[in-house]
Structure formats: structure tokens, C-alpha cells
């Protein structure tokens, strides 16, 4: 590819390349590409409530290299310390979009789980691809991913795996000579009455521009229980658009805990459809923005069936000239009587120039419901600081204790001990940039 190609040409070439390779997704890719051609990226934001606070023009403007061949992929020993990692985890890893043998630890034949690559599977499960994250959404990002993704993971959970041996899907991007786009794709099927912990991480080791446009689809079957820990840790120049679509059946339980630690523009667009009575959903998140990062949590929940419960708690810590967006919507459909829904977003603003825009909305069409939401923003509690100063702590230590405790409320939702350790380290790493 020469540098005279426009972005559109590049997307088209990548799509045609996928079609030429020919896989079981060709029909879906064709539909997706047509959709992408017609809607494109949501650059025009006027009147577009979904993108009111996030300008993706820099993402649309940049030109990316899309098809790459594996070059010296780092070994686990080189980058292990920078990754969430556990000896007992089952990891499937992709480096710059390409499956990494060296980082992956799958295939030890543990019961209750099957992990395969999307590019090398004949599993009938792949027919589910595109059924939860539909290609005809408004934004175009999901459609583009579907049209051009080269590889990804398909995960079947059909037993019980404990929190200390989670499944880990890892997408790493590394420093490259020019901006590169990757399209991580994950399909997760949690079968009836299964119970599992899944970690999905998007880690950027680069300092230049990288764009990862990810789509994750999750089906949680009847009575199944799935904890999904999601980590976004990108460079200050990189872009990440993550589209996660979850469908829950009767009496299922889904818990998402999301950690967003940075990106120049990062968006976590999560939608959960509570499509079975008695289902339960907990969505928690911690976002920390620094420098001129922009992180957008776009969370929406649809209560389609009665007797379902949802709980959301998102917390933000902002510093530098960064900006965070929280947009959480709870939609209670007419038939979803006896719904209980709570939604809360809290923000700590630690510097002049940081800004948070939060929009927690409730749309309710059923009457026998209890729904609440709350949002708050402020600085570190002066009274608490004063107390600690009076006990002889210095101001920085006092603030650190308070902020760490504030972040811990979310981290403590993670059952996997080895992951909690990594998360605390990430929080600590970001803390020194806070000035008191």
C-alpha cells in the first residue's frame, strides 16, 4: 500500500483482502462493509446524543496501516511485567492483531472451557457472530470491525471455573513505524448454568498512534454466571473504540468490572440486554484520566423482561487537562415490571482544566419499578484530609490514602486476586502524576 491511499481506500482494501481470503464470515462481512460505507464514522455530532461529548474526528482523520505481518513479537518475559498476568490463567493473546504463540497459554485441556481462534475454528458457535453485536448499528465502528477483523477469540464456557483460573483474552499493541489499526474481535458463549471469570485486556505499549477498534459479543445463557473484567490501558496518543454487546437469558448473572487507565481517545460502549426474567446485571467501572486523555464510558442497559435487577457504579479520577464522559442509560421496557435498577457515577476532579461530563439517564415505560440514579463530582474531601493531617500525615500521603480507598471500592469487585494486584499497581502508577 502506498501512502497516497485515503483512509477509505485502506478500509476497502482491507475488506477486499478478507473477502479474498474467504472464511465463513464472508456474507456477514459484506453486509457489514455496506453498512460502514453508508454510515461511516459518527463525525457529525450535531444532534447525535450518542456522541455529544466525544469528538472522534482525530480517529477518522488519521490514516492507518491495516494489514500487517508479524514481525518480532515480544516474548512474554520482555513484557510480562507490563501486562495483567497470572500463572494459572488461560491466556489467548494477540499482538498487533496477530495471534501470539509466545504469550498464549491455551490448550491445556482444562474442563469447562474451550478457547479457539476465530481464524482457525470450525466451531458451529461462530454462526452466532454478529447476532449480539449487530452490524446495522448507527456508529459504523462495529460494522468496520466486522468487515475487516483478521482474527480473534471464540470462547465457550460450559462448566465451572474458579476465579483464580480465569480465561484471559489479551490484545497488545506495540510501537510501530506508522499508525496502525487493529480490529480485536471476541465471541463469548456462556452456556446454561456455567460459571466463569473472563478477563479482557487491551494494552498499548506504544508511544505513537495506534487505533484499536474492538467488538466483543457475550451471550449469557439461562442460569449462567459470568464475571467479565475489562482493562483498557493505552498510550496517550492512541485511540480505542470498544463495542461490547451482552445478552442475558433467564436467571443469568453478568458482572462487568471495567478499568480504563488511559488513551488519547478511548470509548467503552457497553450495552447489556436483560432478555430473561430474573436476570441480574452489575456494571462497575473505574476510569482514570491524565494528561490530555479523553475517556468515554457509554453504558446502556435494556430491561426487556420482568423481575430483573441491574446495578451500576462508575467512578472517575481526573487530572491534567483530561476529560471523562459518563453516559449511562437505563431503558425499562413496558413489559419489564418489577424492575429494580440503580445507577451511580462519581467523579474526583483533581486539577484545573480537567472536565467531566456525565449523563445518567432513565427511560421508563413500565410502572411497577424502582429506579434510581445519582451522579456527583467534587474534589477530595477536605474534612477527611484535615483529620489525617491532624493525625500527623502529610498532605500527599493523606490524599493518596483517600484516592486509593476510593479506587479500591471498584477494584474490590474483582474476585481474581492476581488481577487485583495488577490493578492496584496500575492505579499507583498513575497516582504520581497527581500534584497536591
Amino acid at each position: 500500500m502506498t501512502s497516497t491511499l485515503t483512509s477509505t481506500d485502506r478500509y476497502q482494501a482491507a475488506y477486499q483482502e478478507r473477502i479474498a481470503v474467504g472464511d465463513q464470515f464472508s456474507a456477514l462481512r459484506e453486509k457489514a462493509y455496506r453498512r460502514f460505507e453508508s454510515v461511516g464514522f459518527p463525525v457529525a455530532r450535531k444532534g447525535n446524543e450518542r456522541w455529544k461529548y466525544t469528538n472522534i474526528a482525530p480517529i477518522a482523520r488519521a490514516e492507518y496501516q491495516i494489514s500487517i505481518t508479524a514481525d518480532s513479537s515480544p516474548t512474554i518475559d520482555e513484557i510480562r511485567s507490563q501486562l495483567p498476568f497470572g500463572d494459572t490463567w488461560q491466556t489467548i493473546a494477540f499482538v498487533d492483531g496477530i495471534f501470539s504463540e509466545g504469550l498464549s497459554t491455551v490448550g491445556d485441556g482444562r474442563p469447562g472451557v474451550s478457547i479457539e481462534r476465530l481464524s482457525a475454528t470450525d466451531s458451529p458457535l461462530t454462526s452466532e457472530l454478529g447476532s449480539i453485536a449487530q452490524v446495522d448499528e448507527d456508529d459504523g465502528f462495529g460494522a468496520l470491525n466486522t468487515a475487516v477483523f483478521a482474527d480473534g477469540a471464540v470462547i465457550l464456557l460450559n462448566g465451572e471455573i474458579d476465579a483464580e483460573s480465569p480465561v484471559h483474552v489479551l490484545f497488545v499493541t506495540t510501537e510501530r513505524s506508522q499508525p496502525t489499526m487493529t480490529s480485536p474481535r471476541v465471541l463469548v458463549i456462556a452456556e446454561k448454568f456455567s460459571k466463569a471469570v473472563l478477563i479482557e485486556s487491551h494494552i498499548g505499549l506504544e508511544s505513537g498512534v495506534q487505533f484499536s477498534n474492538a467488538v466483543t459479543e457475550v451471550a449469557v445463557g439461562e442460569g449462567a454466571s459470568l464475571s467479565h473484567y475489562r482493562i483498557l490501558e493505552k498510550g496517550h496518543e492512541s485511540f480505542h473504540i470498544g463495542t461490547t454487546r451482552v445478552r442475558q437469558e433467564k436467571d443469568s448473572s453478568y458482572t462487568s468490572v471495567s478499568f480504563a487507565f488511559g488513551a488519547r481517545i478511548g470509548r467503552d460502549d457497553l450495552h447489556v440486554l436483560l432478555d430473561g426474567p430474573g436476570s441480574e446485571c452489575t456494571l462497575n467501572g473505574l476510569y482514570m484520566t491524565s494528561a490530555s486523555d479523553h475517556l468515554d464510558n457509554h453504558i446502556s442497559l435494556t430491561h426487556a423482561k420482568p423481575h430483573a435487577t441491574s446495578k451500576q457504579l462508575y467512578k472517575g479520577i481526573l487530572t491534567g487537562k483530561s476529560k471523562a464522559v459518563f453516559s449511562g442509560q437505563v431503558l425499562v421496557e413496558k413489559d419489564a415490571q418489577k424492575t429494580y435498577a440503580v445507577q451511580r457515577d462519581m467523579n474526583l476532579l483533581l486539577s484545573d482544566g480537567a472536565e467531566v461530563d456525565t449523563k445518567p439517564s432513565l427511560l421508563i415505560y413500565a410502572d411497577d419499578v424502582q429506579c434510581f440514579h445519582g451522579a456527583a463530582a467534587g474534589e477530595v474531601d477536605e474534612d477527611a484530609i484535615f483529620y489525617m493531617l491532624s493525625r500527623g500525615l502529610d498532605r500527599e500521603t493523606a490524599s493518596r490514602i483517600l484516592i486509593t480507598a476510593y479506587a479500591d471500592e471498584i477494584i474490590n469487585h474483582v474476585e481474581t486476586e492476581s488481577l487485583r494486584a495488577h490493578l492496584r499497581k496500575s492505579v499507583d502508577k498513575l497516582l504520581p502524576v497527581f500534584h497536591f
Binding site: T358, S361, L363, V369, A377
Partner: protein, 487 residues
Amino acid sequence: MTTGPTISRETDLSDSTYKWGFVTDVETDIAPKGVNEDIVRLISSKKDEPEWLLEWRLKSLDHWVKMAEAQGEPEWANLKFPQIDYQDMYYYAAPVASEAPKSLDEVDPEMLEAFEKLGIPLHEREKLAGVAVDAVFDSVSVATTFQDKLEELGVIFCSFNDAVRNHPDLIKKYLGSVVPYSDNFYAALNSAVFSDGSFAYVPPGVRCPIELMTYFRINTEGTGQFERTLIIADKGAYVSYLEGCTAPIRKTSQLHAAVVELVCLDDAEIKYSTLQNWYPGDKNGQGGVFNFVTKRGAARGVNSKISWTQVETGSAITWKYPSVLLQGDNSVGEFYSVALTNNYQQADTGTKMTHIGKNTKSTIVAKGISAGHGQNTYRGQVKIMPSAEGASNYTQCDSLLIGDECGAHTIPYIEVGNPTAHMEHEASTSKVSDDQLFYCLQRGLSEEDAHHMIITGWSREVFKELPFEFAMEASQLLKVSLEGAVG
């Protein structure tokens, strides 16, 4: 309020519980349908307006036409309504009167009877009630009571047209200074074709001793009502202003697009209360007023305060966001609202608090009640600019659902750009508690009375902000508006 003899009424709609639905036979002076430069010039010349005002109207019209061509009505609100044909509507309808009435005796007796039926204290005896009323009938102000007493204090309270004639400097200085004609689609239309409205100016240091009140009524069929209100509280002044609105029962929908501008200088306070009871349409959603109103106050001065209180029970469609620009340091903005939607009513209402000055403070208490097929949306923005050191906001939005066909929605937009700001938002949605209902029922109350009592109690945080008589009336309005929604 008592129901007097019906003056004239469309009998096929007489089953409605809307008791303000009479039509008064008053000779009206109507301009041809449609809006264009000629109509704007006609309205302006009918009012004997100065050249600069006509120019402002024409600029507004120009802007509106451009907006109408480019994108039309704003579509972001959670409202569904048929296409409005802006050319199939009268933009000017005034009761015929050869000269402005000098006293109440000269006002058309039928109109007086109409107002009496509405319970407006227009007569001399009403001086006891301590309310000065400016009644606006199809956008033209017909009489203003209590002038003499206000004049003694230097308070100007008159119709907008009189103000243009007698106080052009004030109008020129403040008109469009809070809501520019380019603000939004409906404000642009209003700025082009507004026919009258109310004007109040309270001079420095004066505490207006009585409540000022404007009464709005649409009478002529097929008219749009476009009034403008401008209230200025000079340094250290205080004024409490009340606004009531009704319309006759009509099978077709009517458009109301008003603009209200408030200006508050140093240490001044304006308290603005509204009882909005435009005809809501019948049980099947036929007819009713489309209410698209732009209300905004500028708390410009240091320590100034603007407080909006509204009880919205009428209108088929309500699109209204009384806002405060908190420009002065230590300025305060408040918004208290009860909005009710029954049958097929739709409301998308809330407020906008824009914190600019230091230590500015805003409070929002919004209560939404949905019944029947009503759709009720709270949409509010709290914006804390980087300059608003130490700003604080408290927002509470509660929604109540009665019946399983209605909807209640809460959409706040919170933008915080200063780390020293404190912002809290709480919202809840539920139905009337079964336990509370059970208690009332077993004490012998009917289901309807029980609902009324519980809802009035639930709304008390807003009602207590209203002047006493208004609060009584508001409670009654809720009761009437909810008739048939329970049981």
C-alpha cells in the same frame, strides 16, 4: 375558582373536565394566515413600533426562515407531534378596541366576564388580594390593574407594547439580551412575530410590595400565541411574578411559543411562578396546546438570585426549560417544578443552570407525574464552567408513574469543568407506594382522594415555593388533571 355560566362552548367536547374551555365572543382583528415579511411589518405597524424594533423583528424572521430551511424544529426532545404548518396559522389576533382602555369600565364587558370566570382578580375589589394583574388575551394586553400604587414606587408594570412606547430605552437595552433571537427555532419565531406581553422593571432598592401577575389566554381558533415577557430587577430590588395560562377547548392544536427574559442585577432577586394550564387535548389526544417556551434568567449581578417555580398540568406538548445564567459571583439559581402528563400529554421539561461566576449555587427539584398514556421527560443541564470556582449544585428529580401505559424519563446533562465545584444529582422513579395507599384506603379515603393526598404531599417541596393562593390552586389543578387516571 368557581365555574360561571358558559359563554360559548363547543358542545361535542363538553365531557372534558377542563373547565376553562370556554370561548369568548369578542370581536377580533385578525391578520391573514401565515408568516412572512408583510405580516411582521403589519404587526409592527399595528403596534406603532419604532424602526429599530421592526428591524430586529425582520432579522429574527430572516434567521427563523434560515433555520426552518436548514433543519426545522429541534428534534432532540423526547416528543412526538405532527408536522406543524407554520403558514396555516394566524400570527396576529387582537380584541378590537378603538383606543386603549383608560379604566376597567372601558374594557369589553364580555371579556371582563371571561376573566371573572377564570378567577382573575381584575376588579377593584381585588386590590385586597394584593395582586397587580396584566391580562393578555390572544397576545394583546387588555388591562393592567394596580398601576397607581406601583407608579408611586417607581415600579413599571405594563404591557410590552406600552413599555416600547413609554420606556424604549429599557426595552432597547434588555430585549434579546438574555434570549437572543438566534437562540433557538421557537425563540426566533417569537422574536419575529410577538404581539404583546408583559414588562416589569423594579428600580434599585425597591422591594415590590405586591405580586405581579400576568394572565395569558388564547381565544381565537387557529392562532398562535407569541408573547414576550421581560422583567428587570435593578440593584437590590425584589419582585415576585406570577403567570397563569389557559385556552379554550379546540379540536385542532394551537401553538404557543413564548419568550421570557429575566435580568437580575447586583443583590436583586426575581421569583417567577407559573401555573401552566393550557388546554391539554381530550382523552384521545385530540387538540390541545403545543407549548414551546424559552425562559431564561440572567443572574448578572453579585449576590443576585433567580428562582423559577412551575406547575405544569396543561398543554398537549410542553417543551420548556426555564434556565439561569449564573454570571455574578455568589449568584443563586433555583428551579422547582411539578409536571404532570395524563391521557396523551407529553412533556419534555427541565432546566439549565450555567455556572459562570464564583461561588454560584443552584438547586433543582423536579417532580414528574405520568398517568394514562402520558410521557414525561425531565431534561436538565448543569454546566460548571472552569471560571466557576467553588460552585455547587444540588439536583433532585423524582418521577411517579400511575398506570402501565405511561412513561417517565430522566435525562440530566452534567458538565463539570472546575475541580472545586460540588455537584450532586439524585433521581428516582417509582409508582405510588402500595403501603401508603393501603393506609389511606383503610382510613376510609377513596382511591382518588388517597392518590391526590399522596401526590400533593410528594409535591410539597415545590408547592411550598409558590405563593399561598397559587399553591392551593396548584393542588386543585393536580386533582382535576388526574381525574380518571386512578380507580
